[in-house]
C-alpha cells in the first residue's frame, strides 16, 4: 500500500520507487520447487474479473471455494493451497505481465485454470520454455490437447507444448455429436447454422461438417456474425436462415448472441426448427433471459458434462457443492440456486487439480504434477455428470471426452433435462 501511495502521489519519483520495491522483491524461494513450501502450495491463474468476458468471473471464485474446503480438511499432504487469481480483463497484453508476475515475482508452482484462448496462446510458449505447468485451461479449443507431443505451426507453436493442458471437451468433438443426432433423428433435415466468425465458431462449424460427412450438403445456410454485432444484426442472420427453408437450426455462439438468436427465432411465425444451442451458451440462466425476450425455449437441445445444481440437486455431489459455496463463497448462493453452471465448472476443475496434486507425491515437483495430470483416472469427480470420467494417458491428452444431451422443457421458468445416454465426443 505504501508503494501505491508513493507511485500515485509522486509519479515523478516512480523509477526510484520501483528501485525501492526491488529490494523487497527478492522473495523467498522456499525449497527447490517454486511455490511449494512446508505448509503451502502457491498457484496462480488469470481470469476476466472485469471487461467483456466478466460473465465468467464466478469460475475462479468457485475454484478458490473448493481449495478453501480442502484446506479446512487439512490440505493436500499437509500443505494448504493458495490460489492467486489475477484479473487480466481477457486481454493478452494484460495476461502476459500478470503471468510474468506470478512466475517471476510470486514464484507460483503452476498456472491453473486460466481462462480464454488468446490469453492461453499468449503465454504458453513462455510457460513451456520455463517448465511451468499451464494446466486445466478454461477454453475448449483443440490446441491444448493436440500440441502436446508435436508442433502446431498453425497455432504459432513451432515446438511441442508438454507443459500445457486443457480440461473441458473440445468444440469440434461436441459439434460432431450434434451432426450424429441430426442424422439419426431428422435424416432429411435442411440445416441452418449461425456461428461466430472466429476460431471458436469455425472450430464448431468444421466439427459439424466432419460429423455430417457426405451429408454436409444438407447445410443449406451458414451465417457468420461478429462477436461485437448487436442483437439486431444477429437477428437478421437468423431471419436469413429461416427464409432458406432450414428445419434444423444450429447455434454456435457466445451467450449474448445466442440469446438474441433464440429470441428472434421465437418471433418468426410458423418456423419451428429443431434447435441446437452449443454448451457454451447453454447455461439455464441465459436460457431464461432468452425466454423473457420472446424465445420459445422448449425443445432446445444442447449438451453438458457437468451436473446440474437445479435438476440434480439430490446428487451427493450437488449437495456438497451447495455446502461448499454456502460456506466459502456465500455471496454466490443465489447464483448457485439459479443453476449457474460456471460455479459447478469451477468446483469440478478444483477437484481435478487437487486430485492431480495428491497423485504428484508428498513432495510434488512441477514434473511430478504434470505426470499426475497426464495419468488422471477420475471416475468419482462429484461435480461432473454422473457416469462420466476425467482421464488422461500417453495417447489421450483431452481429459474430458464425454457429453450428454440435454433438452429444455417448462418454458420461461423451466430447465434443461438430460436425455439419452452419456456419449463419447473423443477423437
Amino acid at each position: 500500500m505504501q508503494v501505491n501511495r508513493r507511485k500515485l502521489g509522486a509519479l515523478v519519483c516512480v523509477l526510484l520507487a520501483t528501485a525501492a520495491v526491488a529490494g523487497g522483491a527478492a522473495a523467498s524461494h522456499a525449497g527447490k520447487t517454486p511455490g511449494v513450501s512446508k505448509h503451502q502450495i502457491l498457484i496462480g491463474g488469470t481470469f476476466p474479473y472485469s471487461g467483456p468476458a466478466a460473465l465468467y468471473k464466478t469460475i475462479p471464485t468457485a475454484e478458490q471455494a473448493y481449495y478453501a474446503y480442502v484446506n479446512a480438511k487439512g490440505g493436500v499432504h499437509g500443505r494448504k493451497i493458495k490460489d492467486l487469481a489475477v484479473n487480466d480483463e481477457y486481454n493478452p497484453a494484460e495476461t502476459v505481465p500478470a503471468v510474468k508476475k506470478l512466475v517471476e515475482q510470486n514464484h507460483v508452482f503452476a498456472i491453473v485454470g486460466s481462462l480464454g484462448t488468446a490469453p492461453g496462446l499468449a503465454t504458453w510458449k513462455y510457460l513451456n520454455t520455463r517448465h511451468v505447468p499451464q494446466v486445466l485451461l478454461a477454453t475448449g479449443d483443440a490446441y491444448w490437447g493436440k500440441c502436446v507431443h508435436r508442433a502446431c505451426p498453425g497455432a504459432g507453436s513451432t515446438s511441442p507444448k508438454p507443459w500445457t493442458m486443457g480440461w473441458q471437451p473440445d468444440y469440434p468433438g461436441e459439434a460432431r455429436l450434434y451432426a450424429k443426432y441430426i442424422l439419426k433423428h431428422k435424416p432429411n433435415a435442411k440445416i441452418g447454422v449461425l456461428y461466430q466468425d472466429d476460431a471458436f465458431g469455425k472450430n464448431y462449424l468444421n466439427g459439424l461438417k466432419s460429423g455430417l460427412g457426405s451429408h454436409k450438403s444438407q447445410i443449406v445456410d451458414a451465417q457468420a456474425y461478429s462477436v461485437t454485432d448487436s442483437g439486431a444484426v444477429v437477428g437478421s442472420h437468423v431471419v436469413h436462415i429461416a427464409t432458406s427453408g432450414a428445419d434444423a437450426f444450429v447455434i454456435f455462439a457466445t451467450p449474448s448472441a445466442a440469446i438474441a438468436a433464440l429470441a428472434t427465432e421465437g418471433q418468426i411465425p410458423n418456423w419451428h426448427p429443431l434447435t441446437i444451442n452449443s454448451n457454451v451458451a447453454a447455461n439455464p440462466v441465459f436460457m431464461r433471459i432468452a425466454a423473457k425476450n420472446g424465445a420459445n425455449p422448449n425443445g432446445v437441445l444442447s449438451t453438458t458434462y457437468l451436473s446440474s445444481a437445479t435438476t440434480q440437486g439430490d446428487l451427493p455431489g450437488m449437495k456438497l457443492a451447495k455446502t461448499i459455496i454456502h460456506k466459502y463463497a456465500p455471496a454466490l448462493d443465489q447464483q448457485f440456486a439459479s443453476g449457474d453452471s460456471n460455479l459447478v465448472y469451477g468446483l469440478a476443475v478444483g477437484w481435478t487439480f487437487v486430485d492431480g496434486l495428491r497423485h504428484a507425491g508428498k513432495n510434488p515437483t512441477r514434473k511430478s504434477l504434470m505426470h499426475a495430470l497426464r495419468t488422471l483416472n477420475e471416475k468419482n469427480n462429484p461435480f461432473i455428470y454422473p457416469g462420466m470420467s476425467v482421464k488422461t494417458s500417453k495417447k489421450r491428452n483431452f481429459p474430458m471426452q464425454q457429453l450428454i444431451f440435454i433438452k429444455w422443457s417448462g418454458g420461461g421458468t423451466g430447465d434443461f433435462h438430460a436425455t439419452g445416454k452419456v456419449l463419447n465426443s473423443g477423437h
Partner: protein
C-alpha cells in the same frame, strides 16, 4: 527547452538512473520499467500531435496495433531481425499517419477526435476479417521471444532516440509551425505556414512513434499480437498519459508513461476494489485529480516549481 543547462542536467540524471536500474531491479521489475519505456515513446509521439500541434487523437491505439502486427507478422513469416521490424513499423505507421492526417485538414476539435475514434474502433477488426494472414482471433505469434532485459534496453534506447529526435525536430522551424497551427490556424497560414503539409506531417510523425511503441508492446507481450490487446481503452490511456505529461517536459512524459505503463499492475493490488475494478477506479480518480490539481499536466507542475524556486 529554453534554459538549456537544467534541462541537460535532468536529462543526464534520468539517463544515469536508467543505466543503473537493470543492475538493482529484479527481473520482473525490469520488465515493468520496460513497459514505462514503451509508453514513453507512445506518449511522446502523441504529445507532438496533441500538445504541440493541437490536433486531438483518440485513435493512437490503432497505430500501435499496426506497428505491433507488423513486427509479429514479419517475425512469424520471415524471421526478420526484430530491430528491422521496428523500423518497418515506423515506416508503415508514418505513411498511414499521413493518410489519416488528411481528414484533419477538414475537421477540427471534436470532429477530428471522432474520426480518430473510428480508427481506434475499426482497426482491431481488420485481423478478424483477414484471418489467414493476420491470425484472426487466434493472434499472430512472432518467432522470437525476448527476455525482460532485452525489452528494457530496446524500449529505453527507442525512448532516448525518440526524445532526441523530437527535441531536434521541434526546436526549429517545424516546431514553430506546429505551435503556430495550435495557437491559431488563420494566423499560421497568414505567416506562410502551409497547413496541409504540417498537419499531415504532425500526424505522420506521431503515428510513427506510436508504431514503434506498438512494436515494442507486442514484443513485451511475448511476441503475441491479438485484436483484444488494442481495444479502445488503450487509445484512451495514451490520451490520458499525454494529458498527464503536459507540454514538452521530460519529467512530464516520464510521469505520463509511468502512469499508463504501471497502472494495470499497481492498481490490481489496491485493497478491496483492486481485484475486480481497481484499474478503472484508480484510472478515473487519477484523471480527475490530475485535471483538478495539474491542469497543465506534470510539465505545468515542473514549471510552477521552477518559478517558486526562483522567487
Amino acid at each position: 527547452m529554453k534554459r538549456q543547462i537544467p534541462a541537460l542536467a535532468s536529462l543526464l540524471v534520468v539517463a544515469a538512473v536508467l543505466c543503473v536500474l537493470p543492475f538493482i531491479l529484479s527481473d520482473y521489475n525490469i520488465y515493468l520499467a520496460a513497459q514505462v519505456g514503451i509508453f514513453f515513446v507512445a506518449v511522446l509521439g502523441l504529445n507532438i500531435l496533441t500538445g504541440y500541434t493541437g490536433q486531438i487523437s483518440i485513435g493512437h491505439g490503432a497505430f500501435m496495433a499496426i506497428g505491433g502486427y507488423t513486427t509479429a507478422v514479419m517475425s512469424r513469416d520471415h524471421h526478420t531481425n526484430l530491430v528491422v521490424t521496428m523500423l518497418m513499423a515506423l515506416a508503415i505507421c508514418f505513411v498511414v499517419g499521413l493518410i489519416v492526417g488528411l481528414p484533419a485538414l477538414r475537421f477540427s476539435g471534436v470532429y477530428l477526435a471522432l474520426v480518430t475514434f473510428a480508427l481506434a474502433v475499426s482497426v482491431p477488426f481488420i485481423p478478424l476479417q483477414y484471418s489467414t494472414f493476420l491470425g484472426g482471433v487466434g493472434g499472430v505469434t512472432s518467432s522470437e521471444e525476448v527476455s525482460n532485459l532485452w525489452i528494457y534496453v530496446a524500449a529505453w534506447t527507442c525512448s532516448a532516440i525518440s526524445f532526441l529526435l523530437a527535441w531536434l525536430l521541434l526546436r526549429g522551424r517545424l516546431g514553430r509551425a506546429f505551435r503556430a497551427i495550435r495557437d491559431s490556424e488563420i494566423a499560421a497560414v497568414a505567416s506562410g505556414v502551409e497547413l496541409p503539409v504540417y498537419k499531415t506531417l504532425a500526424f505522420g510523425i506521431s503515428a510513427a512513434y506510436a508504431g514503434v511503441a506498438g512494436s515494442l508492446f507486442v514484443l513485451a507481450t511475448n511476441g503475441f499480437a491479438n485484436p483484444d490487446e488494442f481495444g479502445i481503452f488503450l487509445s484512451l490511456q495514451l490520451l490520458v498519459g499525454a494529458a498527464i505529461a503536459g507540454l514538452g517536459s521530460l519529467w512530464g512524459i516520464l510521469a505520463g508513461a509511468a502512469f499508463v505503463g504501471l497502472l494495470p499492475q499497481v492498481s490490481s493490488s489496491v485493497p478491496v476494489i483492486g481485484h475486480d475494478q481497481g484499474r478503472d477506479v484508480v484510472f478515473g480518480a487519477a484523471v480527475i485529480l490530475v485535471m483538478l490539481l495539474l491542469p497543465d499536466g506534470f510539465a505545468g507542475l515542473v514549471a510552477r516549481l521552477r518559478r517558486l524556486a526562483r522567487a
